[in-house]
């Protein structure tokens, strides 16, 4: 049977230093790892007997503006369907060099998910066959889910900026790994 400890031990045994950390919330394992190894880890989880995470449920990113050098965290949610078991992987990127290898050759579903991730966070997936915007208008010249950009539309002048969260700084929790 799969369990969190088994998955973590398998990964540390194979990748050693590249696995940075491990946490559990609501019984769901989250593994923090080095971004250079993302594809190798995904491939290992896919191929290895007893792990077989062959279904990518989700791929997204999170922006932590108060973590210098690790602002963007790319998150994969993988699923072992026969065992009904999830594992979450997190890879922190520097916002000035948001490069990570594409998983679209391994999981075809990652193709559009990575495009969406690029669209909203500007993560550059190296080797992606068609890394263009998928949800937003093509003319958009910024990545709207990054927290330095206000959520509100900037063309509106009929609202009081202060009341609608424009300008100033908000504490995003300053979450550290």
């Amino acid at each position: 049977m799969l369990n969190n400890k088994f998955v973590f031990e398998k990964l540390t045994e194979k990748f050693g230093e590249a696995i940075i950390g491990y946490e559990e919330s609501f019984d769901l394992i989250t593994i923090h790892a080095d971004k250079e190894h993302n594809l190798k880890i995904l491939q290992f989880l896919y191929d290895e007997e007893g792990l077989a995470f062959r279904f990518m449920t989700d791929l997204t990113a999170i922006h932590y503006p108060d973590n210098p050098g690790k602002e963007l965290v790319v998150t994969y949610l993988l699923y072992n369907m026969p065992e009904n078991f999830h594992v979450r992987l997190k890879f922190a990127l520097d916002i000035n060099e948001p490069n990570i290898y594409t998983a679209s050759q391994l999981h075809p579903t990652a193709n559009w998910l990575e495009r969406e991730c690029y669209d909203f966070f500007g993560v550059n997936f190296i080797g992606h066959p068609n890394l263009i915007r998928v949800m937003n208008v093509d003319e958009m010249d910024y990545f709207p889910m990054r927290k330095e950009f206000p959520l509100e539309d900037q063309t509106r002048a009929d609202k009081d900026d202060e009341m609608f969260g424009r300008g100033g700084h908000f504490n995003f929790g300053n979450i550290t790994i």
């Binding site: 949800m135 937003n136 208008v137 958009m140 709207p144 950009f149 959520l151 509100e152 539309d153 900037q154 063309t155 509106r156 609202k159 609608f164």
Partner: protein, 190 residues
């Protein structure tokens, strides 16, 4: 037994549009062309529903038997812009939908009118966000705005009646006027 007589109720409340003012005598009537054209256009508006969200559901109720928009001559919905007089935009229009809406408007033949139904179509509504167009009047000219989130069918009918007022009183030369061309030009439509 064969009933050759059955009770028949005739509708005696049928309303007919009033004749325009004019000079008449035996066998003829003289009036202004614009009044006849206005009357005819007003009572035969073909709406094009461009429904993207809950305002569209209210519009379905408006077209249904309880509210029955057909009473006002808008009997015939068409789903091709080329046949329609009135573009009814109901619901949130995202920025990505903006060019589509504009294309639909361009495909309509003159004279054409636009009604923005609901808060989203009029101003972006609660969706003050990077992805939503803050009112369709950023891409096409709008004649009537219907407030509400969503407006009740009565509100939509009131919007149609305001459109009818505009249609009835519009000068038949308006669409050739310099002002109108300027208006379209300001939207990048020529």
């Amino acid at each position: 037994m064969i009933h050759n007589k059955r009770p028949v109720t005739h509708n005696t409340n049928v309303k007919i549009v009033d004749m325009p003012e004019g000079f008449q005598g035996e066998g003829f009537m003289a009036t202004q062309l614009s009044k006849v054209v206005g009357m005819a256009r007003k009572n035969s508006i073909w709406p094009l529903p461009f429904a993207t969200s809950c305002c569209g559901i209210e519009f379905m109720a408006t077209m249904g038997s309880t509210y029955d928009l057909a009473r006002f001559g808008s009997e015939r919905l068409a789903f091709t812009p080329r046949q329609c007089d009135l573009l009814m935009v109901m619901g949130t229009i995202s920025k990505k939908m903006g060019p589509v809406l504009k294309q639909v408007y361009i495909q309509m033949a003159e004279p054409r009118w636009v009604v923005a139904v609901g808060a989203c179509a009029s101003s972006g509504g609660i969706f003050d966000t990077y992805s939503v167009l803050q009112g369709i009047d950023q891409v096409i000219p709008v004649d009537v705005y219907v407030p509400g989130c969503p407006p009740r069918p009565e509100g939509i009918i009131d919007g149609i009646l305001r459109i009818q007022d505009l249609v009835e009183t519009e000068s038949i030369r308006r669409r050739d006027s310099e002002e109108y061309r300027e208006l379209l030009k300001s939207y990048g439509i020529s």
